[in-house]
Structure formats: C-alpha cells, structure tokens
C-alpha cells in the first residue's frame, strides 16, 4: 500500500489552501487528489470577477484566484494526483482511489483533509410536474458548458432560483446573446448577493420575480416553455397567477449540498443542518486527524473565507502529523439558537485557541435592526447591532482567547439573533 503523511481530497480552493498550509508547517508528504484534469475546482468555470477582495485586496476572476494558489502549490512541490477519483476511505485512513493510468490504488495517510466541495441541488429534489425534456440544466452545468467547453445551452432562458450562480449565469447568457426572460425565486427574498442582483439582473433589465416558482414545464423532447406562478406565505402556488414563458431552456439555481459521501464512510459525526461533518475550532472532525473545510463543511459566499478556514485545517493536520500534539483540553460547546441555524465550529478548546476564534454561521430569516448576541453560559458577553441579516450572507462573531481564558468554568457559548 502506498503511504503519505497528509491526503487532501479535492483540489479546489479549500484543498489548495489546506495543502499549502500543511506543507509550510513542515510536512513534506502532502498529496492532493482531484477527479478533474486541472487544479482549482469550481473556480475554473467562475470566470466573473469579485474573488479575493479580502485576501489580495483586489478583485480577481475565479481562474485568477485559483492560479495564485495553484502556483503556490507548484512552488512548494506538493504532489498532485489528477483525473483520480476517491472511491472509498475507512476509519484507518486508508483511501481507495482510481484513475485510468494506475487502476485501483490504496493509499494510507496519517491525516486526511476532506475538501470535496459541494453539488447543486438537482431537478429531482424539486416537485415540478411535466415531462423530462432536454433543456433543463443546473446553473453550474450551464456555466461549465459555456465557460469551459464552449457550448451555448439555449437561446431563450428562464432561471428558477436566485442563488448566486443563477444570477451570474443570467448575465453570462445575456452577454453571449441569449434572452433571459425571468428569474423566479420562491422565497420573498433572494439568497444571492445584492451586488449580483444589481449587476447581473438590473443592469440588463432581467426581471426578478420574488415569491414565484415554476409550476409546469411544457415540452416532450425539448423544453418549449414554463409556467410561473406566485406563491403564498406557505410557498404554495396561488391559482390564477400563472404566467406562461416560452423558452427552450430552464436553469436551476436552487441550492448547494455539501458533498459528504466519503465523510459518511468514516462514520463522522454529522451536523443535520449543514449535512456535513461537525468540527472543532481547528476544523478537526469527530475522527482524530481527519479535518474538513471549504464547501464540503459549509457552503460559503466568499472564497476568501474558504481559503482562510482551509489554511487552519492544513496547519493543524501538519501538527497532527509532526507535533507538537497537545492533549485534548477542555471543550466548550458552541450552540446555535434563536434565528441562527448552525455554527462552525461546534466546540472550542480555550487552551489551544490562538489569539481569536471566529464562529461562522447563517441566520434563518431576514432580520432588520436586530442584534447578534453571544452568551457565555447565561451571560450576554457580546452584542452587535445589524441593520440587516439575511440567510444569503454568512455571518461571523469573533471571540478573544483572553475572554475565554477568564472563564474557566465556561461550558457553552450560544449565538442568537435577538431584538436587543
């Protein structure tokens, strides 16, 4: 069996940042495994700009952001297996991979970093009646077809869901000569970034129909049109509000699902809200030496935060392999309550924390003029007033090690959205 010190599964932004950090912290035997023929992951097809404002203080396109990290991984001499699919992994950190040159190979790692990213929610997950004609794509598939392979998926488009990829594709398709007739969003608000709504829809006069959904798809062999109806407070279509849009293509931008089949094979403790592994403050899962980061951990809006979190995972994977390994200390649990849907991390070791610890999370609804409050057991220790909180934007609070250290009896940290 082949061996390596740290196996990084996935060569997208998370895997690249984790691998580079691990190598820089003294581990030579880092191996990146990716199923694509190129490092960079989904960034390769995200050709729009707006990446890296936090990390590099400039607005890069996806491929440019990826190139910064790919170059670093090259410079550091990190080994990469491309065109290679990870089929299986077990609790002894034995990984089964397959590619067309070596066939099946088993690799035993001392530490594993899970960075598989996420997948788009498919049509099958929605209950839209109609036949199964050609011309229905997830927004990311259309993005790959246009930006990597050079094919236009259609000429007249309707987009269901106002996630960022759907918004970005509305602009891409318009620029490439298609007519985007409407974007329908079942919720009363968009989950996309405001900047994308303005620069991808408003700039081109594309209507965003909030509280609307697709209720019928017409066409047997190819999409001929869709019916869009308004929905009520329970997201049920309101009879009599249907409008027919003739189109040859329907794009779906209806959510992303962390890809965690491998995590389940190692029986990691999972968070039912994010469907991804539960991690502590160093991004270690319930299995010692197995770390998780990137969109496989929780779906991000900004790649900068992916790189930042993955670098912490990489550094600590290096510590797991090379030391100094500190004995697990006291664990403070982190709880999401009142409008906060989940938190990353779920536990914090106050002795191990360096300087500050960030807790990232999403909120359940749109809240105006509410506060993000942090409680240490029953005591409110932090409060910050927010003009607006929306489920589409990841939020964070920062805790100081010094504040955690002051409370040696602290058992639970709770993050809440409250009126005051």
């Amino acid at each position: 069996m082949e061996t390596c010190e740290i196996a990084v599964i996935g060569g997208g932004p998370a895997g690249l940042a984790a691998a580079a950090a691990a190598k820089k912290h003294g581990v030579d035997g880092v191996l990146i495994i990716d199923r694509d023929n190129r490092l960079g992951g989904i960034l390769n097809q995200c050709i729009h700009n707006g990446f890296g404002l936090h990390t590099f203080n400039e607005e890069l396109t996806g491929p440019e952001y990826a190139a910064r990290f790919v170059d670093e991984v090259d410079r550091l001499g990190i080994r990469c297996m491309l065109n290679t699919m990870v089929l299986d992994i077990n609790e002894r950190k034995e990984i089964t991979v397959m590619n067309s040159s070596d066939g099946l190979t088993e690799i035993k790692a001392e530490s594993v970093i899970l960075a598989m990213g996420c997948r788009e929610r498919p049509r099958g997950a929605l209950s839209i009646p109609g036949y199964r004609p050609a011309g229905i794509y997830s927004a990311g598939t259309a993005q790959r077809l246009i930006n990597i392979e050079g094919y236009m998926p259609g000429k007249e488009i309707v987009i269901l869901g106002s996630g960022d990829i759907g918004l970005i594709m509305a602009r891409r398709l318009t620029l490439e000569g298609a007519v985007v007739k409407a974007v329908a969003e079942i919720m009363p608000y968009s989950s996309g970034l405001k900047r994308n709504i303005v620069q991808c829809l408003d700039d081109f006069g594309i209507p965003l129909k909030l509280s609307h959904t697709v209720v019928d798809i017409k066409g047997r062999t190819r999409v001929e049109g869709v019916s869009i109806a308004q929905v009520d407070g329970n997201r049920a279509p309101i009879e009599g509000t249907e409008e027919y849009y003739a189109c040859d293509t329907l794009l779906l931008s209806v959510g992303l699902i962390p890809e965690n089949e491998l995590s389940q094979k190692i029986n990691l403790a999972m968070d039912p809200v994010t469907n991804s592994p539960i991690v502590n403050d160093i991004f270690e899962t319930s299995a010692p030496g197995v770390f998780a980061c990137g969109n496989a951990l929780h779906v991000h809006d900004l790649v900068d935060y992916v790189s930042e979190e993955a670098a912490i995972a990489g550094k600590n994977a290096a510590r797991h392999v090379r030391g100094p390994r500190t004995a697990p200390g006291r664990q403070i649990s982190v709880k999401a309550a009142d409008g906060v849907t989940y938190t990353v991390p779920r536990t914090i070791d106050p002795q191990r924390a360096e300087g500050t610890v960030k807790i990232r999370f999403r909120v359940r609804d749109v809240y105006r003029g509410h506060c993000l409050n942090v409680y240490f057991d029953g005591d409110k220790v932090q409060s910050s007033k927010k003009m607006i909180l929306t489920p589409g934007e990841m939020e964070e609070v920062t805790l100081k090690k010094s504040d955690l250290a002051k409370r040696d009896d602290l058992k639970e940290i709770t993050v809440k959205v409250e009126k005051e």
Binding site: N37, R38, N44, I47, H48, N49, E59, T61, P63, E64, A67, I146, N147, I148, E149, G150, L175, E176, L193, K194, R195, I197, V198, Q199, D202, D203, M387, I388, T390, G392, E393
Partner: protein, 120 residues
C-alpha cells in the same frame, strides 16, 4: 434628471435616488451610510464594470479561454466590448495576463487572459 438605483455596498440594498443636472449631482436621497452615498453618486455619474467573457483557443488542452477587461470600462460599452471578442481565436499556449485584445472597443482598456492554457 433623477435616477433611482439599488445600493450594493451591503445587503440592505437601499433604494437611492440621485438628481443629476448637467453632469453634476445636485441631490442624493434614500441612502443609509456615507459609503452608500458615494457609491450612488459614482454609479450615476460614471458607471463602470469589469467585463469578463471567453474566446476560442486553437490547439489548446481546453477549447475556451477566459478573459477580462484589465480595468473597468464604461457600462454602456459592455456590449461593444463583447462584440469585439466574437470570432477571436488565440493559439495555445496562453499565459495568464497575456493581452488578447488591445484597446477594446475604443475604451483604452486591454482585454487580458485570466487563465493559462497549455498546448494540447
């Protein structure tokens, strides 16, 4: 002339109205912060965008090269810029940052490669 736009500085998305007379801002209303006021003024007086698109690649490991305007160009030049990219094919290898079109659509801004592509 009064233009109403959605501010993109933060998720609030304030609806900001800007009154413009002879190219000079005379009144701004509806903003909630100084950054929003500044954004709205700039967006009305001189709206600009970085334009990103693709061109074909000949003999490359992949058939499509992603490109962008090196700086932002005037918003009303977006479609002229895209039109100038139609029909362009570059030969691999291409390096990230290579100039693909000089002075695109008379904007004084170059279109550059955002990806490196090796020869097939």
């Amino acid at each position: 002339m009064i233009t109403t736009l959605t501010c993109i500085v933060c998720p609030m998305g304030c609806s900001v109205s800007v009154a413009l007379e002879n190219g000079i801002v005379t009144e701004v209303a509806g903003y909630s912060c100084a950054r929003g006021k500044k954004y709205a003024e700039k967006e009305v007086v001189d709206p600009r965008r970085i334009v990103t698109s693709i061109v074909r690649v000949v003999d490359g490991e992949i058939p499509i090269l992603s490109v962008k305007t090196k700086e932002s160009i005037k918003k009303d030049k977006i479609f002229d810029c895209i039109a100038s990219l139609k029909g362009i094919a570059v030969s691999a290898p291409v390096k990230i940052g290579d100039v693909i079109v000089k002075n695109v659509a008379g904007t004084d801004v170059d279109v550059i490669a955002t990806k490196s592509i090796d020869a097939a």
